[in-house]
Each structure stands twice: as C-alpha cells, then as structure tokens.
Symmetry: C2
Subunit: 730 residues, 2 copies
C-alpha cells in the first residue's frame, strides 16, 4: 500500500537497523548524512541513493590553523563610545563573541578600518587614532567631547557560524570548533579544490554531493553573551578580505569603504535600498563564487556524481534567481521548507533538474524532547508547504537531524509516513505539473527577480512583528491560484510592464528596498505605473507603498491607492472619512467571526478625497480601501500577515484589481481554510484543508454548480475534473 520514492532520510552512525526501518516506513529512496553525523558502511548497502553532505569551506582545521590569515573576514562595527574629553578608548571586541571573531591586526588598520565621529559623520584622519594590538583597543586623540565614536574593523571569522550554531544548540561541549576557509586566497582555494578531489575519490558510494554549502556564510554575528547579534539570511557581510577589496578596486576603479559594509550598523540588510557599491560588490563576489561553484560541479560530474546545492548557510554569491545560475550545471537544489514562501523559493528555481525540500522540524533535541509532540510542527509545516507544492511542486522531500531522536516519537513517525505518502500521491495525481493559474501577479521592489520569494526576509522563514505584515503577502501568494513573479523598479524602467501581468503588488515600510524610497522621485517610474493602471492594470499597495516625502504626497501613487499617510505636515488640512462599505467583492465570503488581521498598524493614513471607497477604517486610519483609476483599479492594504482569511482577502483583492471578478467563482471555495487546485492536463482537481480542524466547504464548479465537501483535519482530496460543457454559464 505504501509507496517509495521522492524521500530523503538523514542517516546516523550506529543506527543501521532503525534507519532501515524508517526507510521502509517513510518510503525513502535516498539517505544522507547531516552536519555532525556520518553514514555507516551498512547504510550504504541498503540500495538507497546516497547523499553526502560536503562542506567546501569548513572542516579543514589542519590546513587553516596553519593559514589563519585565510579565514573569511567581516567588517564589524563597535558600540558607540561617548567622548568625555579628547581621548577615547574603544574596545573592539566588547560587543562581539570572541570565539567567533578575532580582529585582523595584520592588514594595515589605517588602510581598511574606519573610525567615525557618529555625531558628525566625519571619518577620522589616520593620525588621530591608533590600535593597541595587545588590548584590541583603538585610542583616539583629539576627539570632540560629547561626540560618539565607532570603529569599523576587519575581523577574522574563526568559528564557522553554522557549526557554531549547531554546536551551541546541541551542546557539543569541547568538540573542536570548525574554522572556516576563505577560498579567495589562492593557496586555500587550491587546497579546497584538492581536498574536494580527494574527497570525491574517497567516497565512491556517494551518489549525490550535497554541497552544504559553498564559500560564504550569510551574515550571522554573535555578541559577547554568545547570543545572536546580527542575522541576515541574505547578507554579504562575511565575504570580505583585503585581497578581494584590492582586486575589486582594480576592476571597478574604487575601493569600498568599511562603512559600505556596515552601513550605520544595518550591515546592508536587504530592507535597505541597495547602493551602487553594494550591488557592485555582490556582482564581484557572486562572479567569483559561481566560477568556483562551477568548477566543483564539474569535478562532481566528472566523478560520476550529482551536484546538489543546499540553499542556505554558505549560499551567498549563488543567488539562484540571478541570470546564469543554470550555467553552474547543478543537478539539484535542496532547501529548508519553513512555510509556503520558502517552499516556492526552492521549487521555482530555474535551471536545475530537480529540487528538494528539507522539512521541519529538524530532529534536534530542542524539539524532540519529552513532553513535546513534534508531529504538530511537522503537520503544520506540511500544510503550509502543501498549498505551495500544488502551485509549484518540489521534486523531493526529506528531513534532517538525528533519526535516533525521531524514532522515539511514534506519532511523529506515523505523521511523516502519511506526509510522505501524500507527497508522492500528489505527484502521481498531477504528473508533477503545477496547478492551473488564473491571474498573473507581479511583486515589485528594488530587488526584483533576484530575490524571488526572498522579499521581506531577515532570517529564513522567520517573519517578526515588523515584517509579518508584508511577508504574509508572499505566504498567501505561495499557495494561490495565480502565477507569481518578482520584478524590480529597474525592470519597469527598462522594459515597462510585461503585457501578461494582471496585478502589481508593491509595498513595504517607507524608505526600504520594498517600498522603494527615493526611486519615486523618478517621474518615469510614476508615469509607467499610472499609465499601466489607467489602461486597466490593478495596483495593490501594502503598508507604506511608494512612500517618499515629496511634493505634498507621502504615497507617491496615492492617486491610485486613494490613500495617503499624514506625516504631521498637513495636520491643518481637514480629512474626511466616508462610512465604510459593508458589501464589496473583496470582502465577500469572509467569515464574520474571523475578521481580517491587518497586522502591525500603519498610523495616520486617510482617504485622499471622496473618490476612495473605504472597506475598513478602524482607529482613525485606513486598513483597506479601493479606488477606480481610469480603466484600472487601485487597492490599499495596511498590512497582511498570513492567515487563511487574509489569503482569501488578498485573492479577492487580486481578482478585483485585475477587473476579473467574473473568473473568481469557478474553482473557488467558500471556506477560507480550504483551497482548490485544478490540474487540467491530469483531469483532476484537489481540495485541501489548510487547518488542523475538520472543515466543510462548498466548491464552485464550472457550469455554475457547486459541490459541498467535508474534509478531515489537514485533509487533501482528489476528484476527477467535471465536464466543462456547461461552462458558458460562467
């Protein structure tokens, strides 16, 4: 009854029998090791495909201990220190974890570091400061009393941050810390390539090299209390070295400043509008990374193995959605599935033969401990992912961590067995094809396609109070019956709006890469979007869309959204809120007992005039408003954290904005907890219950009929596609 395939199981030492049992239960056709585990010979003999994690840039302490000037480096910004008088001492490491970093005292600090008066922004001249290398302290002379000073210094990363995280989380005690390598240095690069060649030779039974990952870790810096201080899943902070800076300088004609990397303490979070220097540096590093990835992939293929990249950890510089990714010839990408968004982030990657999702929970003691039921998280994770898989299927699934922990939780083992079976079932029903879509939606921001499904992200799949209102848009879209693409302001400026796009969503907090910042001073961008909307497009703004204090508007496309935000400049101007509309296409079907949640408030918004229709305006501000604009339409949403109801609201808003309400009914579900996916080629459709409760829903079929369905908790049901003969009625 149970089937096999599309499933990767983590292996573990001294655990052969149980692993075999789990393979059976879960239908695994592949087995892999994880960080900190290796596979017994017996496991290799089970006839499963074997993945071996390969860490190109860590695990070679023998080499790197002899070359400690060839670890990756990072510019670190110290705490701000107040000058009481002309002399200031700044302890470099007082805010950082000394087991993770050590200052680079060797490469001339005066060439690379910066001491900045943060009260004036002035960079101090060389002669006014010096480093005491014994104390790792910078002495400043001639400081201005009552000004604050910082040092931005180069530090070596002496503990691989992922291994460090795993070590600290799993309490690995005095296990030796893995020191990372920076292959930018030719000797270390040569070492790394030779080590890989040797490894390939030494691991004949490996079928798939699971690169975990390549060379540069995303930004993950710990503080003096061994706690996370800075995390940016997309950050390039740890890609620096004097050698790379000098090479860059020769190529680009300028050398980035220390400040270009720490940028006032933001460390170039992807929420910031990217600078030219930042983009240049990303180009520079990613060309280097990709060249070396390509080399390793070629070596892998030459050894008769597949090359699989893990989308995470040292993934910086690979950016799968940048052009040219397929040139790397990777066979597969595997990534951690935190939700629908991260599922799509993996599944939509172009140019690889297959993709794999590593589901949660990870089999670590923080979840697998007495008193906890990991199957709850497992099912929740699956339900979030499943709606996205229907729209864009990953090829394979798997889990990570210690199977010896998982096996102690029989309910969890059963749950995963059911999930794996459902996953394979889904592929069988759909022929691995995506469900049909009815609209094309573009998400617009500074980053565009390069950050497909990565917008609004700080830590992987961990939206917080500030980001959830925006991240929810992606999560809603990830499982919706629409085609999604990510476009940039530059795309619009260079090629206009693609003709197949029905709706554009733009939004984010003011001044960010997602809202756009000063890009809105470009009248051409404004003209393009107004013209497109005027001619029938649908523009949805979320939060502080198109925000810039400019010419008396804050939302520069307030004329389309119908809403602007009071910036305490026009308090003298009377605002008029018309009564909210209770009956509108966008809010039909929404359950009265589960109102939409607009998330983190956007304060002081107001309708710009009497032509804006307010659908929700609580607390003296606007949460949801709509407006006609020529032949097109505008929608304003103050925020949209993910929930079933919010996803339904967004779906309706998309159809309304696109002026395609008439398409909405067919294949809709009247219960927001349930969604329908249609597969015309397979002549089937399925209905899923995204909740852990039983649900009843009415599915509107072609021809105007409906079908009531009762779905058990988390259920997924497949039905044959009814005849479309009577479809003229829709």
């Amino acid at each position: 009854m149970s089937t096999t395939g599309r499933f990767t199981l983590p292996g573990e030492e001294h655990f052969v029998k149980q692993t075999e049992e789990l393979c059976q239960r879960w239908g695994a056709d592949a087995i892999r090791n994880s960080d900190g585990t290796s596979l017994d010979k017996e496991l290799l003999g089970l006839g499963k495909k074997v993945y071996s994690a390969y860490f190109p840039a860590r695990g070679y302490n023998g080499w790197i201990r002899e070359h400690m000037d060839e670890t990756p480096q990072v510019f670190l910004l110290t705490d701000r220190v107040l000058a009481q008088n002309g002399r200031v001492d700044i302890d470099l490491m007082s805010g950082f974890f000394d087991q993770q970093f050590t200052p680079n005292r060797d490469d001339d600090p005066h060439r690379y570091w910066e001491v900045i008066d943060r009260t004036t922004g002035a960079v101090l001249p060389d002669e006014s400061w010096n480093l005491d290398p014994d104390l790792d302290r910078v002495h400043i002379e001639g400081a201005m009393p009552m000004h604050e000073y910082t040092v931005t210094f180069l530090a070596r990363i002496i503990w691989d941050p992922v291994e460090m995280y795993n070590h600290l989380t799993n309490d690995w005690g005095d296990r030796e810390h893995q020191i990372p390598l920076d292959i930018y240095h030719p000797a270390t690069r040569d070492f790394a390539m030779k080590a890989f060649a040797r490894w390939l030779k030494d691991n004949p039974s490996t079928d798939v090299v699971r690169f975990t990952t390549f060379f540069y870790q995303f930004t993950l810096l710990y503080d003096q209390h061994q706690q996370e201080k800075i995390v940016d899943w997309l950050g390039y902070a740890c890609t620096v070295s004097p050698r790379a800076l000098e090479d860059f300088s020769r190529e680009y004609g300028y050398r980035p400043r220390a400040e270009d990397f720490v940028r006032d303490g933001s460390y170039n979070s992807s929420f910031l509008v990217p600078t030219r220097t930042q983009r240049d540096w990303m180009d520079f590093i990613s060309r280097f990374v990709r060249a070396n990835v390509a080399t390793m992939v070629d070596m892998t293929h030459a050894a008769g193995k597949e090359a699989m990249m893990f989308l995470g950890d040292q993934w910086i510089g690979t950016e799968p959605y940048r052009p040219g990714f397929s040139d790397l010839k990777l066979d597969a990408v595997v990534g951690s599935v935190g939700d629908g968004t991260t599922l799509r982030m993996i599944a939509d990657i172009p140019g690889v033969r297959y993709t794999e999702g590593r589901f949660l929970p990870y089999f670590f003691p923080d979840t697998f401990h007495e008193g906890n039921d990991p199957s709850i998280e497992g099912l929740d994770n699956w339900r979030k992912a499943r709606r996205a898989i229907l729209r864009s299927p990953i090829s394979r699934m798997g889990y990570g961590g210690y199977p010896s922990l998982a096996i102690k939780f029989p309910k969890f083992v059963d749950t995963v067995a059911a999930i794996a079976e459902e996953f394979r079932d889904l592929h069988r029903h759909t022929g691995s094809r995506p469900a049909a879509t009815q609209l094309t939606v573009a998400v617009l921001n500074s980053w565009g396609a390069m950050r497909s499904w990565m917008a609004y992200t700080v830590a992987h799949a961990l939206p917080n109070q500030q980001t959830a209102s925006y991240y929810g848009i992606l999560e809603a879209l990830s499982g919706m019956r629409v085609s999604v693409r990510f476009i940039s302001f530059d795309d619009l400026l260079s090629q206009g709006v693609d003709p197949d796009i029905d709706v554009i969503i733009c939004g984010g907090p003011e001044g960010t890469a997602f809202s756009g910042g000063t890009v809105w001073k470009n009248p051409e961008l404004v003209r393009i979007l107004r013209t497109w909307t005027e001619n029938g497009g649908g523009l949805i703004g979320v939060g502080q869309p198109t925000a810039l204090d400019w010419q008396g508007r804050f939302f520069q496309l307030a004329d389309i959204f119908g809403v602007d935000q009071e910036r305490y400049r026009t308090l003298s101007v009377d605002k008029h809120f018309s009564p909210t509309i209770q009956d509108h296409f966008i809010i039909h079907d929404l359950p009265e007992n589960a109102p939409a949640d607009f998330g983190h408030p956007i304060l002081d918004t107001y309708p710009i005039d009497g032509h804006t229709s307010l659908l929700r305006a609580d607390g003296g501000q606007v949460q949801l408003a709509v407006r006609d604009y020529g032949s097109g339409r505008g929608v304003y949403l103050s925020g949209l954290p993910y929930s079933a109801v919010n996803a339904r609201l967004l779906e309706r808003a998309l159809f309304w904005a696109a002026h395609k309400e008439e398409r909405y009914r067919k294949w809709s579900s009247d219960n927001p907890e349930c969604e329908v996916a249609v597969f015309p080629q397979s002549e089937t459709f399925c209905v899923i219950n995204n909740s852990e409760m039983a649900q009843r829903t009415e599915i509107r079929l072609p021809g105007g009929t409906s079908r009531a369905l009762d779905l058990g908790p988390s259920a997924m049901v497949w039905q044959p596609l009814p005849s479309e003969k009577r479809d003229h009625e829709d």
Copy 2:
C-alpha cells in the same frame, strides 16, 4: 455673601433687565458686546465698565465694496490634476468656497502664481500656461502625460472667516457678509484709522476697546462644500498681497514664491520646521502689524479708553511672546480659555496690565439647546482652567455669546455664579500671586518662547488623535507646581542652557518643528544637551524626540533616552527587552485601576542596550523608560495625552529627571485627581479636586506629616499654611 468684580458679562439688545439680573448673580463689573450683538443704552447706564468689541478690519462693506482689490489675499493651492495628455485644465476654485474667495485675476498671474508639476516638482514656465479669467481655469500646454499638476493662485478673501463661521454656525441667513479689509493698502489703512478715530468719538461710554482683533486672520479656509478645509490657528497664509510681496522683496532682496506660502499643501503649519523665508515673512508682517496696532492703541489712550486685545481671530502678527509686545502699550489681553494650556497662554503674557479669560461654553445655540446641560461643559472648562490659574492667575474672567440663551438654563446660571465666586475667592486668598514652584522646566522646540503654550497646536485648544499625545504635556504642565518656559534650538545654540533649568522636555513627531528635524545634524546642539545632561540635567523625550535618520540612530539623543526607534534599517540586529521594572519613583502612587495612557502609539521603539530601565513596554515597543546619564538622567515617554494620572506621571518624571525626588513628597497629593497649590506669601495653601466626583486625598505636609481631606465634586479648599519648623525632617 456673593461678591462682585473680575467678571465680564456679554450684553445683548433688548435684554436690559435680565442682563442686570445676570450682572448681579455673577458679580459682573464689566459688560461687553459680542460679534453680532450691540449694547442698549440702558445697559450702559448700569454703572459697569463697558467693553466694546472693535473690528478694525471688517464691517466696512461700504468702503471695501468700492475697493475690492484691497481685501486680504491668500495663496491657494488647487487640487492635483492628472494630465491625460499634453493639455490640462485646472479649475482654480473647484476645491474652495466661492463665497469666501475669488481669484485675483488683476495682479499678473504669471508674476505671482505658480503652476507646478507635482510629479517632478518643476515650476512650469510662463509660456506653458495661461488663465481663462472667465472660467477661472488655468490651461496648461505641453504637460507630461500622467504627471499631476497644481496651480497656486492668489485669491481675495471676500468674507471675513470669523464672521463667516459665526454666520454659518448661527444660521444668519441673508445677513450681508462682512468683507475684510487689508490695511496694507495705504488708502484702506487711512480709511481704517479714520474709521477708528470716528468710532472712538462716537462711543463715549466705552471704557475698554476690545480689539477683536486687528488685521490678519489666522489661516481658515473653507472648501466647496462650505466646510472647513484648512485651519491653522497660528498661520500666516492670509497676510499676502502683491504690494506686501514687492515691499518685502525690496527690503529682503528676494521675493517669496507662491510655494513658500502653500508649501506642498501644508500652508506652513507650525508643525513644519520653519524656513528662513517663513521666518522673514513673519518678521516682515508682524512689524507692520505691530506698528499699526501701536497707532490704534495710542488713539485709544488718547480717547481716554483702555485697549484690550483679543488673542485669536485676526491676531496674526501680534505674537504676544515675541520681544517688543509690551511696546504696543496694550492694557490687556483677553483670550478664549479652552483648557489649562490656553489659560496659561493668556495669563503668562508679559507686558500688559491685566489679562482676561473668556470661558466656555460660548452662549450659542449649538450648546444652549433643549436636552443639553451646558453647566457640565462650564464646570469642566473651569476645572481645567482653575489648576492653571493657581499657577499663573488671569486677572479677570467672562463669557461670550447671547445671555438670552444662557438665562434659560438656571443650572448653568448657578454654576457660573459659583465659578465666578470661586475665581474671586482665589484672588483674595492668593493676593493674585502665583503658587510656589519647585522645579524649572523648559519645553524645547524650533519656535521657543514665541510659541509659549502654543506648541503642538493646530486649532485653538482642540488636540486631535495625532497631537493629543504631545499637547497633553503642556496641559499637564499648565497646572503643575513647576515653572515653565519655552526655549528654542537657537536659544540653546546662542546661549546654552539657562542655569536655573532643571528639566528640558523635547518631543514631537519626526521631522517637525517640535522634534526638530535636521537641526540634529548640528553637533553643537547635541554637544550642549549631552554636556548639560551629563552634568546633572534631566532630559525628557516624548514620542519621536531628536528624530533624524543619521549615522545609525533615529533618536539622535538615544544615548540619553535609552530608547531608539527601528526604521526598518536594522531589522537584522537583535533587540533585547529586559523585564519591566514594577517599582520606580516615577510610577509610585499611580492607581492600578487607571493606568497611564501613552496615547497614539510610537511603533518599533526599543531599548538601545542593557542600561535602559523599562517601566512600560507593551506590544513589543517602549512606552516609558529611564536611564542614568553621567550625573543626569534621561526619560523616554512615547506620548502623554492629558489626564490626571498622566499629569501625575509627568510630575514624578520631572522630579526624578531633575534628581530632586526628595523634594517631591512635601505638598504632594496621593490622589492624582487632586492637586495642591502653596502660597507662602499669603500663608495659605489650597487643594483642588480636578474631577466631577468626590475625592479623598492625603496631602503630605512639611515636617513629614500628612493630612487626609475629603473633597466634593470640583471642590477647592483653602487652609492656612502649617508651621515649617519641623521641615528639617524632609
């Protein structure tokens, strides 16, 4: 039993007997007419001092109808009009009340008006637009499609806004509209002066000329629906004329643009950081206004009468807190008392012999109608004012409107009788001296002393959702046992912090005149405040104090407040909230059932490090935090709308910030609804109940003793000052 004096009664035609009765009941010693009323001869014979309202700039339709080019003018900003193609038509008056304004078509529009592309900010050249004077429509040629355009045009004000408001509110039907005069025009000025001379001669029984007011109305513009469109009680929008612009240009060497007056539609609200041009224009107009006020005051005195100015309506250009106000030789200022803040705005005015408060409610049918009890508003108004009067007594009180309406409400008549008696009683007990203060507090912003008690004001005494969180600071201070002064950033830069100042409060929304905006890029300002605090000063920041995106901080003095605001630039940086402290001087005594209300939220604030003590941090942000800073202290408050509890919280925060907690106990009341005022010279103290409910409070006396008191609703009790002999115990 009842006494007489310090009370001004409004008179009315055909109402002699009842007026006499009201005089008796309320102890009036003066009688006045209001807008729309005049006094019967018999009233003049009652032996009361007679105030006559005088309107220097309206009520002369005979003259102004012959000189319609000499009304006041205003630059009006049209709605934004989207260009569909190269031609755009903008109807000037589509957003304005045509009975209030008419475009000035006579003074060359191309010289004074501006047509602006609001998408680019470009001012259109003359040749690309022209006015159709028949349609009052501007035609633009060569517009950029999908750009928005506005016209800023000069309009004549053809209906005095105050008379218009009174007319529309009281439904005066077809009564002729009063057209205002602009005495900037020599002929009209000459006329106005002669009219006044004639009036002085014609009104021998007038003792006090109640100027209501002078020449320029604060900004009050109505829209096409006869509704208020723009209101700014401090606004200079209606002081414009081509003649004044040209004179200004000769004197200052530049001519302000139309945009300088409408400033993106903000009309230079006092919330905006003032520009150089704005300040120059205010100087220019107020010199002109004051010169002519001085002339009228001299004429008044020469006629043997007193000159009283109404602080409101056409008060623009007089600014009582600007230096030189006493040179006008006004005898008195009268103003509307909306609350404690506006009471202090009147009472603190320097350089006049006496001040008078006109209390609320106004005897108009909007309040005095069947089913309403005006005594509730009357008592509420009195209680708010009373706590301020104890700190800074106005000399006189009165009411306005139609006494024939008031007399129909016997409870109201009784209430006012009691209020008037209590007011006189207060003066008798205190010898008209202010209560003793224990701290000196300065409120810091761009405007400083010039806007004493006028900070955070849009409409007079009408805080709204956006402003209440800041206005509450003033309202709390208005009745507090502290000396209050208003200082500007320029004051600090030119003379540092006055040595007697214990605490400085700065706060407001980002980018405003109250928060300071770009002034915080001036390191000298930062240095002065840090040094002062370091040396023992107390700095309290409210809302978004010292806010400017600069060098990695948003609150530039975050190091003092201990709190900064996340601007979505440092989402990658972990924030740590320590548990809130439950026991702290600032929150002692606050009733558990009436928590402090921090008003309009300030989102995403966080403690900058572990040295900040959080006293309140709900919803993932900080409402109240404190921090030591050298010998001084910083306090952060996210907002403080006025309430008894909030006033108590602020009082405690002030004593704490000043490091003078030991002074707090003596003369404190443990019930926030009750306050104590001490009058050492009169050897008395009083306790007031600021609520409409009976209250019990314990008053802490010198020497460490306490006295429990029961106060009836709204009560005020006087007690002799106890001996201070045992005061060493405090």
